[in-house]
């Protein structure tokens, strides 16, 4: 019983010390909140928003173009191989299927062993 009391007192003292440290910390951080921060005018923010949105649009167009070009190249390759070199076409189909099956089973196995 006595032992328990000592532990409780010890914890209380620790809590007190913790809250004293936290209080001092909050006081210090509160001083940072008193710092004057220069906030640019509204037009500066508007310009930034417009510039960022334009950049997002440019990136979207670039990514879409890249996607379409790559898709076009892959599809052309597949169609050409289908009509000109059917053996290569079948080989590619087989390799792709085996790769997908292997990749999926390896990642599933990894997930099972981690989780």
């Amino acid at each position: 019983m006595k032992k328990q009391k000592v532990i409780i007192l010890g914890n209380e003292q620790l809590d007190k010390q913790d809250s004293a440290a936290i209080h001092e910390l909050q006081e210090g951080l509160h001083h940072i909140d008193q710092f004057p921060v220069y906030s640019p005018d509204l037009s500066w923010f508007e310009q930034r928003v417009a510039a960022e949105k334009q950049q997002i649009r440019k990136k979207l167009i670039r990514d879409l173009a890249l996607f379409l070009i790559i898709a076009f190249i892959i599809l052309t390759g597949i169609i050409v191989s289908l009509f000109q070199m059917p053996v290569l076409f079948i080989f590619l189909q087989l390799v792709t299927t085996i790769f997908i099956v292997l990749y999926t089973s390896v990642s599933l196995l990894k997930k099972v062993s981690n989780g």
């Binding site: 936290i22 001092e24 910390l25 210090g28 710092f35 005018d41 037009s43 923010f45």
Partner: protein, 185 residues
């Protein structure tokens, strides 16, 4: 504020600008606390703004806009720290907070020992302490933003406070030792 958010979602640049202008000082001050560097805070505030514009469609309005800003700013700072670590471009922490300390002194504000101890902590401990004990966010929210479990946040906060307490004790002891010396002379 709700009307501003609604208009911003519809693509109104002015509404966006007003939202950011309103929250800019809060954001810079938050970043100043976690980075301990006024210059980095301003840089990161602008980077955070850019990310907010990119991700604004993900903001669902369930939390306050300032809370959402805090989550994005925290992530941006953590990413920057990782990048700097990879580039081995890491400044000594003491160099980083010297400017903030100097700003305190020039404004005749007291730079207390707790701040000194906080500045010396690594950022992955400093951030949860500030978010928990200054802004009052929950362990779950902090864990969510920092991509760690609430339990890890709790233990980092606990250990961080313990090390601050230790430093405060040390500085108190040194101070009392000095005063003791002075009184004996």
């Amino acid at each position: 504020m709700d009307a501003l958010i609604k208009n911003a979602k519809e693509g109104d640049h002015l509404a966006f600008a007003m939202l950011f202008k309103e929250n800019y000082p809060f954001l810079v001050k938050y970043l100043m606390k976690i980075t301990m560097n006024p210059d980095t805070a301003e840089e990161l505030a602008q980077e955070t703004m850019a990310k907010c514009i990119q991700k604004f469609h993900l903001y669902n309005g369930q939390s306050k806009f300032s809370t959402w800003l805090v989550s994005i700013a925290t992530n941006t700072y953590i990413d920057q720290c990782r990048k700097k670590m990879r580039e081995k471009n890491w400044q000594v922490q003491e160099e980083v907070y010297r400017k903030l300390k100097w700003s305190f002194e020039s404004r005749n504000e007291e730079w207390n020992d707790a701040l000194e101890a906080l500045a010396r902590l690594p950022e992955d401990v400093r951030i949860p302490i500030i978010l928990k004990h200054y802004y009052g966010y929950s362990y779950e929210e902090i864990g969510d933003w920092m991509k760690i479990s609430p339990g890890t946040v709790k233990s980092r906060v606990h250990n961080g406070i313990k090390s601050i307490r230790r430093e405060l004790k040390v500085s108190e002891e040194t101070e009392s030792h000095h005063t003791g010396q002075r009184t004996t002379r």
